[in-house]
């Protein structure tokens, strides 16, 4: 199962949404709560409709809109998204109103917009797109599940162009709940110090990313998705390495063919050893890069990684902001993304240059 990335867009805590700049001047944060830099929505949304939309819905629609223009595709054959938290702000608003008003006076808007599939549904409504529309909600595998369905839909010939995306938002309440669980660092860490952090927890993030996946190479093609693997709670480093070798063998590649690895290093001393085992072991000959210091940790952060990988392959440039050490390889033909959410959901994604 393979597909071309013919267009993309990501709204993130960096200036990324219109693809004109590839992390040349990264925004440096000194807090543990990263929020997205949002575009002016008036360019992408009807103001009458936008007034009811929560932030994540606007982010999702704007990102999908930019992505479709980038790919020059007016109507996708399918819309497939992944999200762990859905439209959290509206869910909180709705639940809070239930408590505050003692289960009376419930207003319809936040209820209607609180479902996990609101973003993909709103995109379809705006486009008047009656095609296959699905949203996957599988915590750290949400984006990967959407991607898998997209690749299968293309492989089976049911679609030529699939709009695939992921979106998750951070809210004050969710940040506090996760803080109590121990997801976030107790001390503030600056963006470029995160990689050297030796304490528990990471920094919170969010984002909305969309990709136009095609069966055929488009005029603005970025990269080709070659393979995807998800691993639930691997028992050992050896098991992870086995999966990497399997994925590469299936594609007729070896470890030496991987030019760049994009790691989900997030500064959490409890789990970062997973990445370092690979970086200093099996994948030591590849250029090492990382991304979560720029977007923060969230369940669908691998979608931000896929944006970076596709941009690397198209521009043949690795921004200094993501490089660990030196770039060892040129030209860049193959990029492997390795990501884990809380050392539970692990995923491998292989992209190649076109």
């Amino acid at each position: 199962m393979e597909a071309y990335i013919n267009g993309l867009s990501v709204i993130s805590p960096q200036n990324t949404f219109n693809n004109s700049d590839f992390l040349s001047e990264p925004v440096v944060y000194t807090t543990n709560y990263l929020s997205c830099i949002e575009p002016s929505y008036k360019e992408y949304l009807n103001p009458t409709l936008a007034r009811r939309m929560a932030r994540i819905i606007k982010m999702g629609i704007a990102a999908s809109n930019i992505c479709m223009k980038d790919a020059n595709v007016a109507m996708p054959d399918a819309i497939i998204t992944g999200t762990a938290l859905g439209c959290l702000e509206d869910t909180e608003k709705f639940l809070w109103a239930i408590i505050e008003n003692e289960e009376q006076f419930l207003t319809p808007t936040s209820f209607i917009q609180s479902t996990h599939n609101t973003v993909s549904a709103q995109i379809a409504l705006q486009l008047k797109c009656m095609n296959y529309n699905f949203t996957y909600v599988h915590k750290g595998f949400s984006f990967e599940s959407a991607l898998l369905d997209s690749l299968m839909t293309i492989a089976e010939g049911e679609a030529q162009n699939v709009l695939t995306g992921a979106h998750d938002e951070m809210t004050d309440k969710y940040y506090k709940v996760c803080d109590r669980i121990g997801y976030w660092k107790k001390e503030n860490v600056s963006t470029f110090d995160l990689i050297n952090s030796k304490t528990n927890g990471s920094i919170a993030g969010e984002g909305a990313a969309f990709f136009m996946l095609g069966a055929q190479k488009g005029e603005n093609v970025y990269a080709k998705i070659r393979g995807l693997k998800t691993i639930y709670k691997p028992e050992s480093a050896a098991e992870i390495e086995k999966h990497i070798n399997q994925l590469l063998a299936e594609k007729g590649l070896t470890i030496n063919d991987i030019d760049v690895v994009l790691y989900g290093i997030n500064g959490d001393v409890q789990y970062d050893h997973v990445y370092y085992n690979l970086k200093d072991g099996l994948l030591k000959n590849s250029s090492a890069t990382y991304f979560k210091h720029l977007c923060g940790e969230y369940q669908t952060a691998s979608s931000f990684a896929m944006w970076i990988a596709a941009m690397i392959l198209k521009t043949q440039n690795i921004p200094h902001a993501i490089l660990i050490g030196e770039n060892k390889r040129k030209p860049i033909k193959n990029v492997l993304i390795y990501n884990t959410f809380l050392n539970i959901d692990h995923s491998l994604l292989l992209l190649s240059a076109c």
């Binding site: 103001p47 007034r51 009376q104 006076f105 207003t107 319809p108 808007t109 209607i112």
Partner: protein
């Protein structure tokens, strides 16, 4: 009546998230739905909840809605006539 109309405009702008609309932009007699403010059926539900929550008035007969929500003035008149 003028004070109630002014208060109602503020509540509607807040409840319906009419970001770019100011109180003075809303004509007291202009239609709320279709032309004028351009509200829709979801807004109608929001207005029904607003009446109940803020003024303790239940719109028992949905058929009355068309008359009540014709304009800001008709809403204010309905509130004045029915508020306990």
């Amino acid at each position: 009546m003028d004070a109630l109309i002014d208060k109602l405009k503020g509540e509607i702008i807040e409840q319906l998230n009419l970001e770019d609309v100011k109180k003075e932009d809303i004509n007291n007699d202009a239609p709320l739905f279709g032309d004028g403010l351009g509200l829709d059926s979801i807004d109608a539900l929001e207005l029904i909840v607003l009446l109940e929550k803020n003024y303790g008035i239940k719109v028992a007969n949905p058929q009355d809605g068309k008359k009540i929500f014709q304009s800001i003035r008709t809403m204010a008149e309905y509130i004045q006539a029915n508020q306990k």
